[in-house]
C-alpha cells in the first residue's frame, strides 16, 4: 500500500477535514485540485494519442461537482466511483502518482494492471475500485451504508454515477433499498447531459433526474454542478441528514461533459459545436478563478503558479510511472481467490513450463 500513502504532493492538501463552510483556504485548495485534475486530463488525452496509455476518459467540465462533493465528506465516508472520478480521488488525498500508475498499469499500480485506465481504487482512502458496468456501484454503496448503520457509525456512503446510470437496474434497486432501510447514502449523480451519444432527454422523460428520488420516498435536489460552493453546500446538507438518521438524498449535479466520452469517442458525430460552446462559457474552472480574482484571493501571477505546479506534478508522476517496471507475468494468477486453488497452481505451472512472460516466450 506504500505507493498510495499520503505524501506532501499538491493533492494531499485535500485531506483537510470538512468544516462548516468552504472557507478561503479550502476554496483555494479546491481550485488547486481542479487545476491539477484539468492538467491531468489534458496530459492524459495527449498520452493516449501517443500510445503511452491505452485509454482515457476525461472529466473536463465536471471538476467543481467532483471536488465540491468530495470536500464535503470525511475520510471515514465511503466513495463508490464510476470511471470518471479522478478529481474525487485527488480530493480524498490519493497521490496523483498512484493514479498515474493505474493508468499505465505498471507494477506500482495498486489494482495490478487488471483493468483499463481510469478504473482505479484505493482501500486506504475508502475509494472503492471502479468497474465498467454502469450502475453496479449504487447498490453496493447502499450495502456499505447498511453495514455502517449496523455499527452505528456516523459515516455516509456515496455512489457516483452519470445521467445514463439512472436507467440501470442498480439505480432502481439501490434507491429502493436505501429508501426502505433509510440508509446514510448520498446518491451523487453527475448529469453531464450525455451518455456517450444519448442525450439526457432521450434517457428518460422525467423533468429532472433528482425527482426520481420521490419514487423511493426520499428527497432529490438539483444543484448547479459548475458551482463549487453550491455543490459543497448540498452535500454537507445531505450528509447531515444522513448521519442524523434521516436517510438518503439524491443529488443531481447538472454539469456538461466538455470533452469526448473517452478517447474511443468522437462527439462530433452526435452533438453540435454550438451546444459545446454554450457550456464552455460555464466552465467551472474559469468560473471559480473569476470568483477568486474578484475576491482578491488569486491574482494572475498566483494563478500562473498554480498551473505550473500542477504541470510539474503531473509531469513528475508520469515520469515516475513510466519508469516503474511492468507487472510481473505470473501476477495474472493472483487475487482470483485469497489463495491459489490447485487448478490455478497447475495453470501457473503450465504457464511457467511454456516460458510465458519470459524473454522470447510465447
Amino acid at each position: 500500500m506504500d505507493a498510495a500513502s499520503p505524501d506532501a504532493s499538491a493533492s494531499a492538501r485535500a485531506g483537510i477535514p470538512a468544516g462548516a463552510g468552504l472557507g478561503p483556504d479550502r476554496i483555494l485548495a479546491a481550485y488547486r485540485l481542479m487545476v491539477l485534475s484539468r492538467t491531468t486530463d489534458e496530459r492524459c488525452l495527449a498520452l493516449q494519442r501517443q500510445g503511452r496509455i491505452g485509454f482515457y476518459a476525461p472529466l473536463l467540465g465536471q471538476e467543481a461537482a467532483q471536488v465540491g462533493c468530495a470536500l464535503a465528506l470525511t475520510a471515514e465516508d465511503w466513495v463508490f466511483p464510476a470511471y470518471r472520478e479522478l478529481a474525487v480521488a485527488l480530493a480524498r488525498g490519493v497521490p496523483l502518482k498512484s493514479i498515474i500508475d493505474q493508468l499505465i498499469g505498471n507494477s506500482a499500480d495498486l489494482t495490478k494492471g487488471r483493468q483499463m485506465p481510469n478504473h482505479f481504487g484505493f482501500r486506504e482512502f475508502r475509494f472503492v475500485t471502479a468497474s465498467s458496468p454502469i450502475g453496479t456501484q449504487i447498490t453496493q454503496a447502499v450495502g456499505a451504508a447498511m453495514a455502517a448503520q449496523r455499527r452505528r457509525e456516523a459515516v455516509v456512503t456515496v455512489p457516483f454515477f452519470g445521467d445514463g446510470a439512472t436507467s440501470s437496474n442498480d439505480f432502481h434497486a439501490g434507491l429502493n433499498f436505501a429508501g426502505v432501510f433509510r440508509t446514510p447514502t448520498i446518491f451523487f449523480c453527475q448529469n453531464n447531459q450525455w451518455a456517450i451519444s444519448l442525450p439526457r432527454d432521450k434517457q428518460t422523460r422525467s423533468k429532472t433526474l433528482a425527482e426520481k428520488a420521490e419514487a423511493y420516498g426520499f428527497p432529490g435536489v438539483v444543484v448547479d454542478g459548475t458551482d463549487l460552493n453550491a455543490v459543497y453546500r448540498a452535500v454537507v446538507q445531505a450528509r447531515a441528514r444522513a448521519v442524523q438518521g434521516d436517510g438518503p438524498t439524491l443529488i443531481e449535479a447538472q454539469v456538461y461533459r466538455l470533452g469526448p466520452h473517452s478517447t474511443s469517442d468522437d462527439p462530433k458525430r452526435y452533438r453540435t459545436d454550438a451546444e459545446v460552446a454554450e457550456w464552455k462559457a460555464r466552465d467551472p474552472l474559469a468560473r471559480l478563478r473569476a470568483d477568486l480574482a474578484v475576491a482578491g484571493q488569486l491574482d494572475d501571477a498566483a494563478d500562473q503558479k498554480v498551473w505550473e505546479e500542477a504541470r510539474a506534478e503531473v509531469a513528475a508522476a508520469i515520469e515516475a510511472g513510466e519508469r516503474s517496471p511492468p507487472m510481473p507475468p505470473e501476477s495474472i494468477f493472483e487475487d482470483v481467490f485469497a489463495t491459489l486453488t490447485p487448478r490455478l497452481e497447475a495453470e501457473r505451472e503450465e504457464f511457467r513450463a511454456l516460458g510465458r512472460g519470459t524473454e522470447g516466450g510465447p
Binding site: G121, M146, N169, F337, A338
Partner: protein, 325 residues
C-alpha cells in the same frame, strides 16, 4: 451429533455462524417472520432480530448488490435467493462484481459473500422452480461453488463457506431438503472445500454425482452390485475448487467413468469432468465416458420424472460402460 434433515442442518449452520460472529447477517426475500419459503431460516428472526435477518424488497439485484457492499464494509452477509431460477436478475452483480472484486482491485477489496439458494428438480416445480445451472457459476472465475448432498455436509460446508475469504455460491438440493436425514455434528463442524467424499468404494466403474443426484446414484450402485459390478461413487461436494486428484485417482483405478447431474448436458458440469479425464486420465480409460444428465431442453413440469436421471438410467449407463470393450 443430532439427527437432522438437510434443511434443518442448513438452519443449524446459520444459527451457529450467527451466534459465533455478530457480523454475520442474513438477507433475502421472506426469510424473516416467514422463516424462508423452505423454512431454512426458521427461528432466526426471533433469535437475532430484523437487523440481522433482513427481509428485502423483491430484487435479487438489490440483495446481491447490497450484500457486496456489506462485505466491503466489514460484515459477512449470507444472501438467500429464493430459488436458483430467480438468481438471474442478480447475475450481473455476481459475475461482474462479486466474482471479480478481489482481482480487479489487486487484492484491495476482497468480497466475501455467501449466496445460498435451493436448486434442482423433483418437486414438481416446472420450468422456474427446478433449474440447476451450476455450470454458469463454475465457469465464472472467482466464485467457489458448493453442493452438499448430506445433512452433515450441508452444515459443515456452510460453516466453511462462512469462514472462507472468497465469494461462495452455495447450492442446496431442495429435492432432498427433507427426504434425507442424517447425523450432524453439533457446534462448529467444518468440512473442507476441495475434498471429495468417497461415498462408496468400487473397482469396476466410477460414478460421479453431487447434490440430489447422489441418492439415486448410490441406489444404482447397489443395483449394480447385485449384478456383480462394483461401482465407486464419488461426490465432489465442491465443484470449485474441484478435487481433481480424487476424480483422477478413482478413474485410474476403475478405468471407466459415468458423470451424473440434473442440469442440461450441453456444456454442463459433466463436460468438465469428462474433459479433465480425457486429458489427465486418458491412458487409464477403458471405455467412453458417459454422461447421465437432464436433456438439452428447459425443465418440464408434467413429465419431470422422465427428464431427470434416476437409478435406472444411471445403472444403465454404468452397465454399458463396463460392458464396452
Amino acid at each position: 451429533m443430532t439427527e437432522l434433515t438437510l434443511v434443518q442442518a442448513v438452519n443449524r449452520g446459520l444459527a451457529e455462524a450467527m451466534r459465533a460472529d455478530p457480523n454475520v447477517v442474513l438477507l433475502g426475500e421472506d426469510i424473516g417472520l416467514n422463516g424462508g419459503v423452505f423454512r431454512a431460516t426458521e427461528g432466526l428472526y426471533k433469535e437475532f432480530g430484523e437487523q440481522r435477518v433482513i427481509d428485502t424488497p423483491l430484487s435479487e439485484t438489490g440483495i446481491v448488490g447490497t450484500a457486496i457492499g456489506m462485505a466491503l464494509n466489514g460484515l459477512t452477509p449470507i444472501a438467500e435467493i429464493q430459488f436458483m431460477d430467480f438468481i438471474y436478475p442478480a447475475f450481473d452483480q455476481i459475475v461482474s462484481e462479486l466474482a471479480k472484486f478481489r482481482y480487479r482491485s489487486g487484492g484491495q477489496f476482497p468480497c466475501h459473500v455467501v449466496i445460498r439458494t435451493p436448486y434442482g428438480g423433483g418437486i414438481k416445480g416446472g420450468l422456474y422452480h427446478s433449474q440447476s445451472t451450476e455450470a454458469y457459476f463454475c465457469h465464472t472465475a472467482g466464485l467457489k461453488v458448493v453442493v452438499p448432498s448430506t445433512p452433515a455436509d450441508a452444515k459443515g460446508l456452510l460453516l466453511t463457506a462462512v469462514h472462507d475469504e472468497d465469494p461462495v455460491v452455495f447450492l442446496e438440493p431442495k429435492r432432498i431438503y427433507r427426504a434425507v436425514t442424517g447425523e450432524v455434528p453439533d457446534g462448529d463442524h467444518r468440512v473442507p472445500f476441495g475434498k471429495a467424499r468417497l461415498v462408496r468404494e468400487g473397482t469396476d466403474v466410477s460414478l460421479f454425482a453431487y447434490g440430489a443426484m447422489v441418492p439415486p446414484t448410490v441406489e444404482a450402485a447397489e443395483a449394480l452390485a447385485k449384478d456383480g459390478i462394483q461401482a465407486e461413487v464419488v461426490d465432489p461436494r465442491t465443484l470449485v475448487p474441484l478435487d481433481e486428484a480424487a476424480i483422477l485417482a478413482s478413474v485410474e483405478k476403475t478405468g471407466r467413468a459415468v458423470v451424473v447431474h440434473e442440469a442440461a448436458r450441453f456444456c454442463g458440469f459433466g463436460a468438465e469432468i469428462a474433459a479433465l479425464l480425457a486429458e489427465k486420465a486418458f491412458y487409464s480409460l477403458k471405455s467412453p465416458i458417459a454422461r447421465v444428465t437432464g436433456y438439452d431442453t428447459p425443465f418440464p413440469y408434467a413429465l419431470e420424472n422422465l427428464y431427470l436421471p434416476n437409478a435406472d438410467t444411471i445403472a444403465h449407463a454404468a452397465r454399458a460402460a463396463v460392458q464396452a470393450a
